[in-house]
Assembly symmetry: C2
Homo-oligomer: 257 residues x 2
């Protein structure tokens, strides 16, 4: 199953890498199922995945950013963000990914997840109960040390003040604009936390953004909670949004919450 | 002259790309000339440049992050940051660069500058009075539109509150942790501003970080000022630091200052 997810990620990467320089990645095509405009590169990547699922007749439904829920009368659902970090992709910032997760009804029953950086090819994988890896090597979230701390925070128009308060508690802070890869940086022990408090609920994170990377983080020894310190769970529903704190070490949670 | 800078950038990129997976990029070797620890990958890249200058007997002094000022009794000085965004490089975040600029005494007399993303190979160049380019194509900073605004800001331990106020004035905000490439994003019209107000002067930007990218931005039609709205100039001195606002369109300056 993980091998199938990896193969799909590779197909998306090959397709994105082979786009011609004339292809206008940022062209707005129409309104997607999540209510935001579908850009040309999102559509291209989504089509690669949907075609694959159909051609192989995989026994899965699909929940995707652009197409919404595709009911294929299956028990399991493939939860995808065909391009996470679309704006980075459009800008040429090499920090965007494909995110693929397989589960039944919500984040806590996801059984496998794959996130791939579409530029570098870095491939993060996890299977429930079996640990997480990057490029085949086991990854483990790091112990918190204030002397080398790095916090990833949400910035932008709807950022609540406490995002910035968190940013200032670390030695370094970043805001890369690609939730799945930012979560993976916590999972592999390069960052200590990823915090998002968005004042406008419709701009917070969705299941498609972090279904795979939340499993990867949890399998690497970290966890992700909502801002009431409840273990984060989200249904397979594009309309559901949540703020969160993801961390590698519980000490970070005590520091921030 | 620009061709020589491009060749040096290529040498650094080849050397960095061919490091073995066992090479510990983040190993702290000793205290560099700028007062921060010299990491193994910084030293490796600096050696590539210094060896090149010596072997070709280029008629230039060198000012570098780790080695400081190397007086070769020349009129011109090569101002280098061998790896800008070292921490990204150590983390495996594909957003770090080599920055090379050639001038006589300060930022305003820089005559040529090159910044290369060491992962993707994206190559930004400028010669004074001759415009700026990315991968050989002319780049121009974009006109400001509030509907698609993206502001890059400084975050982290020493960030003044107004960095966050700026971040919230745009639709999107980022903090990538690599000053030269962040400046180039403004130059090529993907971001509208790059703002840094660091409360601790010793953590602000240095000439080596932005000598090349400031020329690239200015040649692309943008500009960079200090926080008193004075056109930014900095001497060839590792101890000099400054906060700044870089922008593509004057309207952004009016909005922010």
């Amino acid at each position: 199953m993980l091998d199938t997810l990896k193969l799909i990620a590779r197909k998306v990467r090959e397709a994105e890498r082979s786009l011609s320089p004339q292809f206008d990645r940022g062209q707005e095509l129409y309104q997607g199922a999540d209510g935001t405009p579908t850009l040309a590169v999102d559509k291209m990547a989504e089509d690669v995945i949907l075609d694959f699922v159909k051609e192989r007749d995989l026994p899965w439904n699909v929940l995707s950013e652009e197409a919404g829920f595709i009911d294929r009368k299956a028990k399991k659902t493939l939860v995808i963000d065909p391009i996470d970090g679309t704006h980075n992709c459009v800008m040429g910032v090499p920090f965007y990914s494909v995110s693929l997760a397989l589960g039944t009804k919500d984040m806590l029953d996801i059984e496998a997840g794959v996130v791939q950086n579409l530029v570098t090819g870095d491939l993060y994988c996890a299977e429930k109960g079996k640990g997480a890896s990057c490029n085949g090597e086991r990854i483990i979230a790091r112990e918190f040390s204030p002397y080398r701390s790095l916090f990833i925070v949400y910035t932008g128009k709807y950022a609540a003040q406490d995002n910035f308060d968190v940013a200032r508690r670390g030695v370094r802070a970043r805001s890369f604009g690609c939730a799945s890869l930012e979560m993976c940086l916590v999972a592999e022990g390069h960052a200590d936390a990823y915090y998002m408090n968005c004042e406008v609920p419709e701009k917070s994170v969705r299941i498609i953004d972090i279904a795979a990377s939340a499993l990867i983080l949890r399998e690497a020894g970290g966890d992700i909670v909502d801002l009431n310190d409840k273990r984060l769970n989200m249904g397979f529903d594009l309309m559901e949004r949540s703020n969160f704190l993801a961390y590698g070490d519980r000490k970070v949670k005590e520091l921030i919450m």
